[in-house]
Assembly symmetry: C2
Homo-oligomer: 175 residues x 2
C-alpha cells in the first residue's frame, strides 16, 4: 500500500482565520487578501510579533477544519496508508493541542500514523501534501503543494487548491 | 552525510530504574535480573498495571541518561546527521516531558532533528539504533539492536550492548 504524508496547518487545519483575527486585534482592521498574497500574514509590515502566538498554549486547539479534509482523508485511507506529519517540534506548547485536535476532528487516524517532527526530510512516503515548498524540495516521492497565501507564486510542484483537487488527483492515481 | 535515527527510551534514556522502583512499590521487593530477562519488567506476573504509569505526567521527566550516550551522540554528530526518534505518540502526557528532557540533557540536538512518532516505518535514515525489534524489522537501512532485557534472545540484528559498542561500530563505519 502506498503512503501519503499529509501536513496539518494550512492543509487539514485552517490557520488563516486565527492570524487574521490576531492582525485585527493588533492593527484594528483586517488586511485584504491582496496585501498578504505571496506571503504569510505575519510577514506584513510590523506584524512579525503575531508569529509569537504560535508559541502559546491554545493557539492550535481550536483551528477550523479545512473544508473537505475529513471526508478526503477518510476516503484516501481506503487505498493508501495515511500519515499526518506536522512540524510541531518548533512549538512545544502545540504538542497536546495538536494531538487533541486530531483526536477530536480525525478520530479515525490511529496514533501510530501521527508524526510530530522538525525537518520533514526524515519522512519516508510516496506522496506528501504540504503548503511549504521547503518540505517538498527534499522529498523523494511526489510532492503536492497545497495552496496557501505564501506559496501562490510557486510553480515547481503539482498544485492542489483545495481538498476537492486533492481527491481528484488521487482518484486518478488509483485508477 | 549519512543519517542515524536514535531511539530515546532504553537507548539514551534509562527507563529500567523507574520500572524497578515502581515494581518495588507495588510488590515490596525488587525483581532479580533473571526474573525479567527476556521480557519487560511490566510483563512479570501481576505487573501489567505498572505500564499505566507511562501515561502519567512526569514519568519521562527525570529518567537517568544512558551512560556514554551524551558524549556518543555528540561525537556521531561530527560525521552523521543525527535524529532522535521516539515512539511518543502512544503517550500524550510524555510529549512535553520528553522535549524538556532532551533540551536538558541533549541541548546540542536541534529541534529540527527530533521526531515524535508512532510507527517508525515512516523514518527515512541510513542507520537506526533501537531496542525494539519491531522498529528495526521494517527499516530499510542498517538496524542496530540496543540491548535491553526484553530483546536479549533476539539474534537477527547487529547487537550493541552499550554506548561504547555503538561508538566502536560507527568508528569502524567512518573509516
Amino acid at each position: 500500500m502506498k503512503r501519503i504524508a499529509i501536513d496539518m496547518d494550512e492543509v487539514i487545519a485552517d490557520v488563516r482565520p486565527k492570524f487574521l483575527q490576531l492582525y485585527e486585534r493588533e492593527f484594528g482592521r483586517r488586511p485584504a487578501e491582496e496585501e498578504y498574497w505571496g506571503k504569510k500574514i505575519y510577514q506584513l509590515p510590523g506584524a512579525a510579533r503575531i508569529r509569537e502566538f504560535l508559541q502559546e498554549k491554545g493557539f492550535f486547539a481550536d483551528l477550523p477544519v479545512m473544508p473537505g479534509s475529513q471526508e478526503g482523508v477518510r476516503e484516501l485511507m481506503e487505498n493508501y496508508e495515511v500519515f499526518i506529519v506536522t512540524a510541531a517540534m518548533e512549538f512545544r506548547a502545540s504538542f497536546e493541542d495538536k494531538f487533541d485536535w486530531l483526536q477530536e476532528h480525525f478520530p479515525f487516524i490511529h496514533w501510530k500514523n501521527v508524526v510530530f517532527c522538525g525537518d520533514k526530510s526524515i519522512v519516508e512516503a510516496d506522496y506528501m501534501i504540504d503548503d511549504h515548498v521547503f518540505n517538498l524540495e527534499h522529498f523523494r516521492g511526489k510532492g503536492l503543494l497545497f495552496t496557501a497565501s505564501h506559496n501562490i507564486h510557486e510553480n515547481r510542484f503539482t498544485r492542489v487548491n483545495n481538498w476537492e483537487e486533492v481527491m481528484a488527483y488521487f482518484r486518478q492515481e488509483v485508477q
